[in-house]
């Protein structure tokens, strides 16, 4: 049997090595260690994955020692591989290894080369802990750890003004969510008296669904609050677009493929629990649907290539939650899987463009790169077709399954989803048209543009294969497929219990729905391409016709400004008050400095007696003795 602990520990060792010795070791060694440890982890994950499929109940569990034991709480330090965590492990280490390789080329000229790989390896370690932890506290360690690495990597260019601020923003938003997870964990402990996933799910199997707003609904809602923080859903989505301040490979790995999906992972992990709380599911579905459409509309007008992709990620994550909320855990998770391929590819492609254009991220200054960057162009094109949901590319199957389930839950949700999909198609084709078609708008940069080295294009090619074919793992039943992924994930999602993921058994007009959404998607994609393929003129004309809408979208609905005015400013004002009044005057002044000053004065006073004259000393002694006598006789 594979030593499971090696899988997360290898990247940790890599991180430690690069952190301590990376600077002296040189870039070659750093690259080898960083890519090598993750690649080894990937191989071990593959071994574990196949071992898991042969194991009883499709589950490998290794418990190493008792991690915490206080009072009624007993938490083992254990790792689990089941279909759910196994798939995540393959995504994390597989796509992770590709992105590490890509970074070797992308970060080549950066001063903080070793530091970058130290953080990136550390991220892989924590992410593996998150998915492999057999208990919620261990999962939470990973949860917090990836948040830390995300913070470190967003603020990687710490000499700039915006990167550390963006890192801080991400960290603070995540803290709000983390509090939700902590509260949810406490509530679950209160209910079940255990925090191991298997313990909770076993007991949950004896419960019947909660009709009202009970403690279980509260606990699951709190966990969902945590998920909205980590996975950038309304209302905690604001940090993800800013997180693009980090290096592009980070955006691809952390802020597209893996970390941001941990909210979905958390809900899938506890799927039987969420199935017991229909109210929570409804909340999840509506929040997911709303985010999907909302973020997609903002993406329509962004100029920064990475910002477009960031809003696209927020939007796609919304689809995943929409799927989960419609009780389609397998569908939601399936979209995690396909999205990991095409979104990582889009980000890496964008990185390749940015790299070629000498760190230019403004779409309005690109154009005509089709001939200069052929590999990047073709792979990104494939990813675009995948994300817009064109059959039979991967995005089609997963998104369509989600929309179908949403329709069964509430047709309004389906309508929102289709509208969002149209926006998705539009902004992606707009992005492609602006970057690759038309005339170059920055001739200097255009002339120096060149295709990236093999370390960058090879991962693009591999990811492109995934973007095209990943969907075949789950051809929905409505289209004559078997939705294989659902059966595969079933042992993890149902935990051997009857109720759980049983969506998709209802009947619905599947072909019709898919036809409508696909047609609309193609139409809006074509419209986006046509608008921008010859430059900016047509887009500007449209923007001028709808000035109000254009300004609102361009400013992202002014949410950041509202948060600043109604949340941050009062908090800062209160903080200032506490600082200047309570801390400086009351605590520092009256509490600390005043006694200090008095002590000094007293010290000076005592010095008066230390005259240096023996007669005064002797007098003091005599008077002291008399004083003692007086004290006693009094």
């Amino acid at each position: 049997m594979t030593p499971l602990w090696l899988i997360p520990v290898l990247p940790l060792l890599g991180s430690a090595f690069n952190g301590f010795f990376g600077k002296r070791a040189g870039k070659g060694v750093v690259s080898a260690v960083a890519v090598g440890t993750v690649a080894l982890s990937f191989i071990l994950s593959l071994v574990a994955f196949f071992a898991m499929q042969g194991a009883a109940g499709h589950r490998l569990e290794a418990t190493y020692y008792e991690w915490m034991a206080t009072g009624g709480l007993s938490v083992p330090f254990g790792l689990v591989v089941d279909p759910l965590s196994g798939t995540m492990m393959l995504v994390i280490t597989g796509i992770g290894a590709l992105i590490h390789l890509y970074s070797v080329g992308y970060m080549h000229e950066d001063e903080g080369y070793a530091r970058f790989f130290c953080y990136l390896n550390l991220f892989v370690f924590f992410m593996l802990m998150l998915v492999m932890g057999s208990s919620l506290p261990l999962l939470f360690v990973g949860w917090e750890g990836v948040g830390l690495c995300s913070y470190l990597l967003i603020g990687f260019y710490f000499e700039t003004d915006y990167a550390p601020a963006a890192g801080l923003k991400a960290f603070l938003f995540n803290r709000v969510g983390d509090l939700g997870v902590a509260i949810g964990m406490m509530a679950l402990f209160g209910m079940f008296g255990t925090l191991t996933v298997s313990g909770i799910l076993t007991q949950a199997g004896h419960l019947s669904p909660e009709a009202g707003w009970g403690l279980l609904t509260f606990a699951t809602l709190m966990l969902f609050v945590g998920a909205t923080g980590k996975s950038a859903q309304i209302p905690l989505y604001l940090w993800l677009p800013d997180a693009m301040a980090g290096p592009t490979p980070v955006s691809a790995l952390i802020h597209a493929a893996t970390m941001v999906t941990s909210g979905i992972y958390l809900i899938c992990r506890l799927a039987p629990l969420f199935s017991l709380t229909p109210h929570t599911l409804t909340v999840i579905a509506w929040v997911g649907g709303a985010t999907a459409l909302f973020a997609a509309t903002i993406g329509l007008v962004q100029r920064d290539i990475k910002k477009v992709l960031a809003y696209s990620t927020v939007s796609q994550l919304g689809y995943m939650f929409l799927g989960l909320g419609s009780a389609g855990y397998a569908a939601g998770f399936f979209h995690v899987f396909t999205h990991a391929w095409f979104k990582a590819l889009l980000f890496l492609g964008a990185g390749s463009v940015i790299h070629a254009m000498h760190h230019e991220q403004d779409l309005f200054r690109m154009g005509g790169l089709k001939s200069k960057l052929p590999i990047t162009f073709v792979t990104m094109l494939l990813a675009t077709i995948a994300i817009m949901g064109f059959p039979p590319f991967s995005g089609f199957f997963s998104k369509d399954e989600i929309l179908y389930l949403a329709y069964l839950k509430n047709p309004a949700l389906w309508a929102i989803g289709v509208l969002g999909a149209c926006c998705t198609s539009f902004y992606m084709w707009r992005l492609m048209a602006l970057a690759f078609w038309g005339e170059p708008r920055d001739h200097h940069a255009f002339e120096h543009a060149h295709e990236s080295p093999w370390t960058m294009t090879a991962p693009l090619a591999v990811l492109a294969v995934g973007a095209v074919f990943a969907g075949f793992w789950g051809i929905p039943k409505a289209f004559g497929g078997s939705f294989a992924i659902e059966g595969f994930l079933a042992p993890a999602l149902t935990f051997g219990q009857s109720h759980g993921a049983h969506a998709g058994h209802h009947e619905g007009p599947a072909w019709l729905l898919a036809g409508i959404s696909t047609t609309l998607g193609i139409a809006s994609g074509a419209f986006g391409w046509w608008m921008y393929k010859d430059g900016l003129a047509k887009g500007e004309a449209l923007g001028a016709k709808l000035p109000g809408l254009h300004v609102v979208l361009l400013n992202k609905y002014f949410v950041d400004e509202a948060v600043e005015a109604y949340l941050l400013r009062p908090v800062r004002w209160f903080g200032n008050l506490m600082w200047k009044l309570v801390d400086v005057i009351l605590i520092d002044g009256i509490g600390v400095n005043l006694p200090g000053a008095l002590t000094r004065v007293a010290g000076d006073f005592t010095a008066l007696f230390q005259t240096g004259r023996v007669r005064n000393y002797a007098l003091t002694m005599g008077l002291g003795a008399l004083l003692l006598l007086y004290v006693f006789l009094k």
Partner: protein
């Protein structure tokens, strides 16, 4: 008559078994002075330091080997208290000699007398902690003190040292007068029959009402005399001047060895001899203890030189230790012993750093510590540990000593004094951290042209290193020390 002489001889022979350490020290020191020193060239006088250290090590072994017992007509007693405090004192002397060697070399002031005087003063101290008779107490205090007066004024070319020695001598004579007068009053109060502590303990509580003022005044004067030796307020005024004027290793020595000896005497005289009349001295002594903590710590705040700062800090520490005397129990005596041991470790370390930095005997100003962390990171770190430990910050060894002492004091019902001790400890952190502030957060001062070289040697490095490690991890040995090393029991 013949019978008396034979009895005397018998008593001397049997008693001599108890004082082998003192006999050996006296003999060794005398031989060092004459004739051994005749054979040592002037340029090679520094050999006396290692020789003295060997003598001290042998003395330590003798102390270990001495069997408990009572001798010299109940005037001297060897028990756990005696042996425990003797070991402390010898250790303090050993460290002081180690601190001295390199500095005296640098000053070109190596003489055999310096080391011999330390050994002679030690004879007094070792006897003092075993004294069970007021007469033994008195003459051993004098033996100790006279040697130290001379050591304070050892650098006779420096006015400050001579002045300090003279002041100390005059005030010391004054306090000896008070002590002796107090003893005579106590002697008179019991009808002039005995000065033996055990006898006094039996007789004092039953003296007639008419003599009670005699008893009280006598006890109070003895208390004043001993308070002078431990430098407790208001009998402390000699100590900042003497500490500043003395050669720094002697300052370190004075802050530990005589203090330990006087504390031993305090525990013995007040814990056994005057235990029966404790209502007479509890209140005055608690005033003295409280005043020492308050004044010592407050006055230290504004000091400009490291030696004066440590002098006031040692006044405050004497105040803390008096809690153990006031607690009046075996456990409290152990706590005092333990406190002295931790104090010895961190105090010696701090003085070692001062000696290393001070070059050729000039007083080290606190300003001179500016930016030490940049110039000498290890030294600054060690100094910080000593200072934090003196302030009683966990988990350093100073915290452990304080915690144990204060805990027992609370159990003995001295709550008010412990509150004072805790508040003044907080004040002490203020000035100790002031030095840390200078070392870590100020830019280094420009060293003047031709700055004195550091007094650095393997021995000095060893002292700083070992005391620093002990300060850091000594707490780990705490339970072992408390439980097994010295069960200080007497009576």
């Amino acid at each position: 008559m013949n019978g008396f002489a034979a009895g005397l001889w018998e008593s001397l022979v049997s008693g001599s078994k108890l004082i082998w350490p003192q006999i050996f020290l006296t003999f060794a020191a005398t031989v060092m002075l004459w004739p051994a020193d005749l054979f040592v060239e002037k340029a090679r006088k520094h050999v006396w330091a290692p020789i003295t250290m060997v003598i001290l090590a042998l003395t330590g072994a003798l102390i270990y080997l001495t069997e408990p017992g009572v001798g010299f007509s109940d005037m001297y007693k060897v028990d756990g208290l005696t042996k425990g405090f003797q070991a402390l004192i010898v250790l303090a002397a050993f460290l002081a000699v180690m601190l001295s060697q390199k500095l005296l070399d640098a000053l070109r002031e190596q003489t055999v007398e310096y080391y011999a005087l330390i050994l002679f003063s030690l004879v007094g101290m070792l006897t003092l902690v075993g004294a069970t008779d007021l007469m033994t107490v008195y003459f051993s205090i004098e033996l100790m003190a006279i040697c130290i007066y001379i050591l304070v004024a050892y650098l006779r070319d420096q006015n400050r040292g001579v002045e300090a020695g003279l002041k100390y001598f005059l005030l010391g004579a004054f306090s000896s007068g008070i002590l002796l007068y107090g003893m005579s009053l106590v002697f008179a109060a019991v009808g002039g029959v005995t000065t033996n502590l055990a006898e006094l303990n039996r007789l004092l509580p039953v003296v007639p009402q008419s003599s009670s003022l005699l008893v009280f005044s006598g006890v109070l004067m003895v208390l004043v005399g001993l308070c002078f030796k431990v430098a407790a307020v208001p009998f402390h005024m000699w100590s900042p001047d003497a500490y500043e004027g003395a050669p720094t290793p002697i300052t370190a020595f004075m802050a530990t060895a005589p203090k330990a000896a006087a504390m031993g005497a305090f525990l013995r005289v007040f814990g056994t001899g005057f235990a029966g009349v404790s209502s007479d001295w509890m209140l005055p002594l608690s005033y003295v203890a409280g005043a020492s903590m308050i004044l010592g710590n407050i006055a230290a705040v504004r000091q400009q030189t490291m030696k004066r700062l440590l002098a006031y800090s040692s006044i405050a520490h004497a105040g803390y230790m008096l809690l153990g005397v006031l607690g009046k129990g075996v456990d409290n005596a152990q706590a005092v012993w333990l406190y002295l041991l931790t104090y010895l470790v961190m105090n010696t370390g701090a003085f070692a750093v001062v000696i290393i930095l001070q070059g050729k005997g000039e007083g080290e100003r606190i300003d001179d510590f500016r930016g030490l962390a940049k110039r000498r990171p290890f030294l600054a770190f060690a100094m910080m540990m000593f200072l934090l430990s003196l302030a009683g910050i966990p988990p350093l060894v100073g915290f452990f000593g304080k915690f144990y002492l204060f805990k027992l004091a609370v159990e003995s019902g001295l709550t008010t004094l412990v509150v004072i001790a805790l508040v003044t400890s907080a004040i002490s952190a203020f000035y100790y951290l002031g030095v840390v502030n200078q070392m870590y957060f100020k830019e280094p001062a420009d060293l003047p042209e031709g700055a004195e070289p550091e007094v650095l040697s393997t021995g000095m490095t060893l002292i700083v290193g070992v005391t620093c490690v002990l300060t850091l991890v000594g707490t780990l040995a705490g339970p072992w020390l408390v439980n097994t090393m010295f069960r200080i029991t007497w009576i």
